[in-house]
């Protein structure tokens, strides 16, 4: 009887150890998966940071002077010009960084997905994407309002501005579009 109990005890301990080891192995794999995803994020963070600096340098060295007579002849209101220039400034900056921004958003999405799979909280990752990577609601509203602007204004500005990032506030200043 004592021998049977010893055998039973050994079996139970054996099952426990196997389960623990399997569980530990699973957790090791989970950590490796998460670590892999975070490494990808590190790479894309680095690339985006470098790209942002490059685009900022382009922007800071580029401001534009427009022909105010064009605005007068088109009977464009000052606020319409402000709206248009703001949108185009954000658009061009975004296009300059676009691919690398999208890459980082993708890598963060992968990590969020992995965390969801392992039943870990992914909200913090989604917050990072929303606040640091994606355009804000105000930027999106700017795009929507830009679309409603007079065609001639958009045509003129897009031709003058092109797709290079430019210094919005300096541009407003030199075109006397600012009150300060």
């Amino acid at each position: 009887m004592a021998a049977k109990n010893k055998l039973l005890f050994a079996a139970i301990v054996g099952i426990f150890l196997t389960t623990y080891q399997a569980s530990a192995q699973t957790e090791v794999r989970q950590n490796m998966v998460i670590q892999f995803a975070q490494k990808e994020i590190a790479k894309s963070t680095l690339k985006l940071g470098d790209r942002i600096e490059f685009c900022e340098n382009l922007k800071n060295s580029h401001s534009l002077l427009f022909d105010s007579e064009i605005f007068e002849s088109l009977k464009i209101q000052k606020n319409e010009i402000l709206l248009a220039l703001s949108h185009l400034s954000f658009r061009n900056s975004f296009e300059c960084e676009n691919r690398l921004r999208v890459n980082l958003a993708y890598d963060l999405g992968v990590l969020a997905s992995i965390r969801k799979y392992y039943q870990l909280d992914e909200q913090i990752i989604l917050d990072i994407k929303s606040e640091l990577i994606y355009p804000s609601i105000d930027e999106i509203k700017l795009s929507i309002n830009y679309a409603k602007l007079p065609f001639k204004l958009k045509e003129y500005l897009e031709k003058e501005i092109g797709d290079k990032p430019f210094d919005l506030l300096k541009t407003l200043e030199i075109n006397k579009l600012t009150r300060m």
């Binding site: 957790e27 950590n31 670590q35 994020i41 590190a42 680095l46 606020n79 402000l82 640091l132 579009l177």
Partner: protein, 113 residues
């Protein structure tokens, strides 16, 4: 353009208050991202337990990568914040409010208390 002029009697409106909260949030998220990268090799803020049996192989390249990625984070956050500030400046140019405009221009120009 004059910068960092004292402003008296500024009462921040709801839009400005909301934007300041947004900028503060971005600063907090910057720290989260930085922490995530700093602990990336161990990822202990993102898993449930410390794992005594886990074995990590961290190469020299890994360390270099994480260190450089850490340096990149402020550019990303600064850009996100700068856009918000510019949006506020445009808002107060379009809906003219001298004090709010002065305030946000001051922030844009990097005026600190």
């Amino acid at each position: 353009m004059a910068t960092c002029r004292p402003i008296s009697g500024l009462k921040l409106d709801e839009k400005s208050k909301k934007m300041l909260q947004s900028i503060k949030r971005k600063g907090r998220l910057q720290k989260v991202l930085a922490t995530a990268l700093a602990t990336g090799v161990v990822s202990n803020i993102f898993t449930k337990n410390d794992l005594p049996v886990a074995v990590y192989n961290i190469t020299q390249t890994d360390w270099k990568l994480y260190a450089e990625a850490m340096k990149a984070i402020p550019s990303i956050t600064k850009m996100a914040m700068r856009k918000e500030v510019e949006l506020m400046i445009i808002n107060y140019e379009m809906n003219y409010d001298r004090k709010h405009l002065q305030f946000w221009r001051g922030i844009h120009n990097g005026c600190k208390k």
